[in-house]
């Protein structure tokens, strides 16, 4: 027997990059976030070998969850082959030996920037959303300490005022992505920034959603089967993006979230934003159930309501 044989093989970095203390901290914070749905849990947030603001929050969560048996899917803007998604996936695999997939239904950990996939995620799956700005109140107060106090008091009056002012000025809510939503009837969250199309998918979802902002050092969760309600006045319902009549130029599909591709003649073409879904459709001709069916009906009947233009 030699010393060489007794020694552990040389490793420059810990399994899944982060040291055991950092992982322990992350896991504890995640448990706390699950226990208090929508509450922003502060955490230390370690530097990772990718730039801050490029998904380090999501990545820390994924790295603290990943194991060799994990199946990882990473998307950016819905696409698996986006350069940043490719880079994050490459890093997770390099550090963990996990398997990867582009199939939403096969992933155990799905890390995403700006999208929730079209196919319905199930129990046992974790959706990790990268978050640039965890604070839904940032627009009414830039100060994190003040915002924390407002959350503690459940004082969302300024948010309602903001929405009211939008109705007065524009006769509709004009928030784009990251539409402020009430989780478990208690905390208002800033959902990633996912488009409004994806926000309802968080409501009573079978999967666990973890939202993590590495730079801002906050993480929060939407546990499975939790109420998520976009902020809306009872007489002016929340609206998703209107993409009616948008047909994917390659698959001919409708009623899924589309990328709009400007054409030289001033018109637009459309393509599916969810590249894994498009790929599955192209190769097998069929997919699993989707949040919006082919007629555009959301799977929780009655959750989305037709638009109302208030007369003010």
């Amino acid at each position: 027997m030699t010393l060489q044989e007794l020694a552990q093989p040389r490793q420059d970095y810990s399994y899944a990059f982060m040291d055991a203390y950092a992982k322990r901290e992350l896991r504890r914070r995640i448990l706390k976030a699950i226990a208090i749905p929508g509450y922003q849990v502060p955490y230390a947030s370690r530097e990772l070998p990718i730039a801050r603001g490029w998904g380090t929050g999501g990545l820390q969560v994924s790295l603290s969850l990943v194991g060799p048996e994990s199946v990882v899917k990473v998307i950016d803007q819905g696409a698996d082959d986006s350069v940043n998604a490719a880079n994050l996936r490459r890093f997770i695999v390099r550090m963990s030996g996990a398997q990867t997939t582009t199939d939403t239904t096969k992933a155990t950990i799905l890390q995403s920037r700006h999208r929730i996939p079209e196919e319905i995620m199930g129990e046992g799956q974790a959706l990790v959303l990268q978050v640039p700005d965890p604070e839904p109140l940032r627009g009414v107060t830039a100060d994190m300490s003040k915002a924390a106090q407002l959350h503690a008091d459940m004082d969302y009056g300024q948010m309602w005022l903001l929405l009211y002012e939008q109705l007065v000025r524009y006769r509709q809510y004009i928030q784009g992505a990251s539409y402020p939503s009430l989780v478990n009837r208690r905390y208002v969250i800033s959902p990633s920034p996912i488009p409004r199309w994806d926000t309802p998918k968080l409501h009573q979802a079978a999967h666990l959603t973890l939202l993590s902002a590495g730079r801002e050092k906050r993480l929060y969760a939407v546990p499975p089967y939790t109420d998520v309600q976009p902020l809306e006045f009872s007489d002016v319902p929340f609206q998703i993006e209107n993409q009616q009549g948008w047909v994917c130029q390659t698959t001919g599909i409708e009623n899924k979230f589309m990328n709009e591709l400007p054409q030289a003649d001033g018109t637009s073409q459309y393509e599916l934003s969810d590249s894994g879904y498009a790929e599955k459709l192209a190769s097998t001709g069929t997919t699993d159930a989707t949040y919006y069916d082919d007629q555009g009906h959301f799977y929780h009947a009655g959750y989305l309501k037709p638009p109302v233009l208030p007369t003010l």
Binding site: S14, L48, P132, G176, A177
Partner: protein, 365 residues
């Protein structure tokens, strides 16, 4: 093992390869030259990276072609995985091997003003003669007749002895119990340890911008540099078995103090210290240390504002993240804009007639 490989993955590998080809080969010799020739750059990178490792800092600079923000990120990402195996003894100004130490508060101070190595009073003329090969640079330093003292008392101690500054008591604190900005969730108001650590590793340019704004007129105080000190500190450890203290090496450290009046109990002291020698950062940071409790008259003087916005890795990372595609969020906002337009102008012609389109094309490359 199945790995989803895509066009994007290949593209990023080629892009990195192209960058490497452009900055040239990474060799031990190049790294050594950087380490020897650019100590102040190394100090800046090590200070902001909060990792004292000249060799690794030189490697980081070589690897990134001298992109300081990237180099700092490399060091930070490396250090974030390193275990804490021990804590060094606290460094006191009295036992820092001081090479430069000045005070603007007094003409002369106990121990004397020690100019040390500095470019402060040099004429900032480019040495074109050296570039043209006409002369050699003379780097020989003149040796003093009597060697200067290796250590000096703190100027602040004299002020304290005069009751001009409130006294401080040396506290015995278990190093493990010291709040650590790198492993704690930072909340505000932050403990002073977090504040000083954040300033120590803050972006030099960021601290300068906020500090300068404060000095120039948005702040409340006029800082007087009470003491600025560059030196070498022993990293004093205790042997885990024998309990004998020993030096594990020396690190370049610098500390700055500014004072301002305005309190009933005399002067107030702002303090900053960092790994490496970085005088600009220390003067700006110690000014901010004083200002950080004064949200009025300017938000740049709140602790939260200063600490968040001088974090080099976070600030630079977020800034460059805007290079990432944002077309989903943009589509979402465009949807809202279109709805508003159609609500208020639905009877009018479509928003972009072809003549307008031509104009847009000309403006946008």
């Amino acid at each position: 093992m199945y790995v989803a490989t895509r066009g994007g993955e290949e593209a990023i590998q080629h892009a990195e390869q192209l960058y490497k080809a452009m900055i040239g080969k990474l060799t031990r010799e190049n790294i050594q030259v950087i380490q020897q020739q650019l100590p102040y750059l190394l100090d800046k990178v090590m200070g902001e990276g909060s990792l004292y490792a000249p060799e690794l800092a030189a490697l980081a600079l070589a690897q990134t072609g001298g992109d300081v923000y990237e180099a700092v990120l490399l060091l930070r990402a490396y250090r974030s995985t390193q275990p804490r195996i021990a804590y060094a003894a606290p460094i006191s100004p009295d036992n820092v091997l001081t090479v430069r130490r000045i005070s603007a508060s007094f003409k002369d101070i106990p121990g004397g003003q020690i100019l040390g190595p500095t470019l402060d009073y040099s004429h900032r003329l480019l040495r074109l003669d050296v570039l043209d090969g006409l002369s050699e640079d003379d780097t020989a330093a003149v040796e003093a007749d009597t060697p200067a003292s290796p250590t000096y008392p703190a100027v602040a101690d004299w002020l304290r002895s005069q009751n001009l500054l409130s006294p401080v008591e040396m506290q015995q604190i278990d190093p493990v119990a010291i709040p650590d900005v790198t492993t704690d969730a930072v909340l505000f108001p932050a403990p002073r340890a977090h504040r000083l650590q954040a300033l120590a590793r803050a972006d030099t340019g960021g601290v300068l911008a906020l500090g300068y704004a404060s000095m120039r007129g948005y702040g409340l105080i006029h800082p007087t540099v009470n003491e600025l000190r560059l030196g070498h500190a022993e990293v004093e450890m205790t042997h885990p078995l024998t309990g004998v203290p020993f030096s594990a090496g020396r690190v370049r450290v610098s500390q700055g103090e500014v004072i301002t009046s305005g309190e009933k109990n005399g002067y107030q002291l702002g303090f900053a210290a960092t790994l490496g020698w970085n005088e600009i950062k220390l003067i700006a940071a110690s000014t901010l240390d004083l200002e950080m409790n004064n949200r009025e008259p300017h938000p740049a003087h709140s602790e939260e504002f200063v600490m968040y916005h001088t974090e080099s890795v976070e600030a630079s990372g977020f800034c460059i993240h805007f290079k990432l595609p944002h077309y989903v969020t943009f589509a979402s906002s465009m949807d809202s804009v279109r709805k508003v337009i159609s609500t208020f102008y639905s009877s009018e012609a479509p928003a972009t007639p072809s003549s307008d389109l031509e104009t847009i094309r000309q403006v946008q490359p």
